[in-house]
């Protein structure tokens, strides 16, 4: 769940959390990726302010932190939706029609991959293989995995969450 930073300002408790995470890894520069995993786990995403705070805390140039965040696709600088939708576009899912599912989610929600709906409920992203190729094509909403998804099922899946 994304914690929103009010007016680009991190609150005291957020700074404390960042400190705590950095300390678990002894502020070790070689643990930067683990620190980022920890912070993204807490904030839901890694906005510039969080990166700056980490850089300060472990005494590393912000540009380096930013370089690592942008290199790895797992890290995101934008908050995801309350129900993040990930469509697997790995090979197994692709040949069983994953691209049609991406189209369908985009059409139903009126957003593109990488975007979040205005009400903050849904976001769409693609990922490469969740390791459930036997169920291809696969869609994940949060932690829940849907297998053998057809374009017709897209509406039904969304309905499950719209009322939540």
């Amino acid at each position: 769940m994304a914690i929103v930073c009010e007016k680009d300002q991190l609150q005291e408790q957020h700074l404390l959390k960042i400190k705590e995470i950095c300390n678990t890894f002894n502020k070790d520069h070689s643990e930067l990726i683990n620190i980022l995993h920890g912070c993204q786990g807490y904030f839901g995403y890694l906005p510039a302010e969080v990166q700056e705070a980490i850089a300060l805390e472990i005494d590393m140039p912000v540009s380096k932190v930013f370089g690592v965040v942008t290199f790895y696709s797992f890290f995101t600088m934008k908050p995801k939706g309350e129900f993040p939708i990930s469509v697997c576009t790995g090979t197994a899912c692709y040949v069983r029609g994953a691209d049609k599912l991406v189209d369908e989610f985009q059409r139903e929600l009126g957003i593109d991959v990488g975007q979040t709906t205005e009400d903050g409920k849904f976001s769409i992203s693609t990922l490469r293989c969740v390791g459930a190729c036997g169920l291809a094509p696969v869609v994940m909403v949060g932690d829940k995995t849907y297998g053998h998804v057809s374009p017709k099922m897209v509406k039904k899946i969304l309905k499950e969450y719209k009322t939540k």
Binding site: S30, E31, S73, T91, D103, C129, G134, L135
Partner: protein, 599 residues
């Protein structure tokens, strides 16, 4: 307390968990608990992947070996009441052979398992991965104990060398030789690294091994450490594999508590510990030098080799990097001997290989066969042939670094060198089967899209060249290609292969080259006739309304986002091809099947 005399094994891998296997296991336990007559004599064990993912979740009953497929949580009651209590098999949960229609009750009689030989997967689907005792009961940690107390490091290395084991991560480098290099490298501190990044989309053997048999990896890493003189190990694993990470953590903890990991293992003077490092979604980090950069907390950009990690790796110390599947073979080789292992396989590729079968094939899943098995045996005998009775078109091996093979290659015995010789690769063992509905140009485009996304950008041929390849392929699938483009594709591919810095760029044009070689006519059709026989390239398709079937209900008019459909009510309508964006909304909506898609 009565003795446990029956076991119910359920699949607890990622795939089956997604099909509610966890709920199923819980329901089975609840049913047992509520039945005093059997309580205490039946045990439910959640194992790793059985491999037969197509028909998951799987349930296997011991001791009678009954193999149930596609079991739902609601079947729990029946399994307990019928099978356990009354001893009657439940017919409708048994597997029916799709060809012979024969109902089969044991896995060993199923086509899917008959030709398999499971070594790396030996424990997957047999042991509870969260219980070290079950691993130990199946010769687990015996090889480690023997190594530490009875064998010189060189003896172990010689055994691995003699077994002929080659790296399963894609490169196929002889494992024993790599260990020897690292052992002989100068350095006070050395590292053992397990590469569990598994980047090839469509391959999931490393995940299944870690989920189903994590102790085999821990044992192998410890043996390797002892052989090369290291005291520290690291597992680099994808953050996208939460279940594998959990199971590995549990296994490491249990091994530490049992004295099989940590200081003075089994009371000897050999100490070894393992820490976990997480990937963060970058395919190139599977390449060993990039992986080492990433473990140091940096951007995962590869470095020029040499120096190889064996000389200068993690923090410039000698580092032995091995793939998960490679490691899974180590304890068995040491238990059963090099000769036994080398007796399987082909002249230069020994042992077995795990493949992840996916795509348009009946039996999607994880299989392990001796090297030298033919593609035909894998796809038709084990894989059960092509889905929905369609025609086989191609099989893609080696993921983004590999190629598409055709009918004429089906009888090639699979091994490292044979696959290279016919323009593909073993890679990590992904095998994606394609049928007549798959467009080979689009397939090449799909892989190039992947490479463009995943190129780290350090060197120009890969960063720019692959982008140009992708653009050219896109142009062709959009119906704007010219013949010159096909020659350009080939030229660029050869340059990228020759001049890229790391394995990613050196192999990324393979999907293009192999499809050009094997499906030249299909490329030409796209370019000259603007035709895609597979019907996948949208730009070359047209939605049309058949006059006879259209009743003029206007349902399609209302859904068309671009107002491309016109006509009077109760009269046949037509689609204006200039306005149509080919979204297919009208076809989905039409209740009279009057809208057709034509090539």
């Amino acid at each position: 307390m009565s003795k446990i005399n029956q076991h119910i094994l359920t699949c607890g891998g990622t795939g089956c968990r997604a099909s509610e296997s966890k709920e199923l296991a819980q329901n089975l336990r609840d049913e047992i608990a509520s039945n005093p007559a059997i309580e205490g004599s039946v045990k439910v064990v959640e194992c790793g992947c059985f491999g037969f993912c197509e028909k998951g979740p799987i349930v296997k009953m011991l001791p009678d070996n009954t193999f149930y497929t596609q079991v739902k949580p609601t079947n729990a009651k029946e399994i307990i009441e019928e099978h356990i209590v009354k001893g009657r098999k439940i017919e409708n949960l048994l597997y029916t052979d799709p060809v012979t229609k024969e109902v089969i009750d044991e896995s060993k009689n199923m086509g899917f398992y008959k030709k398999q030989h499971r070594i790396a997967l030996r424990n997957c689907g047999f042991v509870d991965p969260e219980n070290i005792g079950e691993y130990i009961a199946r010769e687990g940690y015996e090889a480690l104990g023997r190594a530490i107390f009875e064998q010189e490091p060189q003896v172990i290395i010689d055994t691995i060398k003699a077994s002929g084991l080659r790296g399963r991560g894609g490169g196929g480098f002889p494992t024993g030789l790599k260990w020897e290099f690292t052992k002989n490298a100068k350095g006070d501190q050395k590292y053992v690294v397990c590469n569990a990044d598994e980047g090839d989309p469509g391959a999931f053997m490393d995940r299944s091994i870690l989920e189903g048999d994590p102790h085999s990896i821990i044992e192998a890493m410890a043996i390797c450490a002892y052989a090369i003189g290291a005291n520290e190990g690291l597992v680099y694993i994808r953050a996208e594999y939460p279940l594998a990470i959990d199971r590995l953590k549990i296994a490491i903890k249990q091994a530490e508590e049992t004295g099989l990991l940590g200081d003075n293992i089994l009371g000897s003077d050999f100490s070894f510990k393992i820490t976990i490092k997480y990937g963060a979604g970058a395919f190139v980090c599977g390449e060993e030098t990039a992986l080492i950069q990433s473990m140091e907390g940096l951007r995962g950009e590869p470095n020029l080799k040499p120096p190889f990690p064996a000389e200068s790796g993690y923090f410039q110390k000698p580092t032995n990097v091995n793939n998960v599947e490679t490691l899974a073979n180590i304890p068995v080789i040491l238990n059963k001997g090099a000769d036994w292992y080398a007796s399987m396989g082909t002249e230069k590729s020994k042992g077995t290989k795990v493949f992840a079968l996916a795509g348009k094939i009946n039996n999607v899943g994880l299989i392990e066969v001796p090297m030298g098995t033919t593609l035909r045996e894998v796809i038709f005998d084990i894989g059960g042939g092509i889905k929905d009775g369609k025609k086989f078109k191609a099989v893609q091996t080696g993921g983004p670094s590999g190629g598409c093979l055709t009918e004429e290659h089906l009888d090639t015995p699979i091994d490292f060198d044979n696959l290279l010789a016919i323009g593909s690769m073993m890679g990590s063992g992904g095998m994606v089967v394609l049928d007549e509905d798959d467009c080979m140009v689009s397939m090449a485009q799909f892989y190039l899209e992947f490479t463009v996304e995943e190129s780290c950008g350090k060197c120009a041929p890969c960063r720019i060249g692959n982008k140009r390849l992708h653009e050219t392929l896109e142009k062709i699938t959009q119906g704007k290609g010219v013949m010159e483009d096909l020659h350009q594709l080939r030229n660029m591919s050869e340059v990228i292969k020759e001049t890229s810095l790391c394995g990613l760029g050196q192999t990324s044009p393979n999907p293009v080259l192999s499809t050009l070689d094997n499906f030249w006519d299909e490329y030409v059709e796209h370019v000259e006739d603007k035709k895609c026989v597979a019907g996948q390239c949208k730009s070359m398709l047209r939605y049309v309304i058949t006059e006879e079937d259209c009743v003029g209900c206007t349902a399609c008019v209302r859904v068309c986002p671009t107002n491309a459909i016109t006509g009077t009510k109760k009269k046949p309508h037509i689609i204006n091809q200039d306005l149509c964006i080919k979204c297919g909304a009208c076809m989905d909506k039409c209740s009279f099947d009057s809208i057709l898609l034509i090539a």
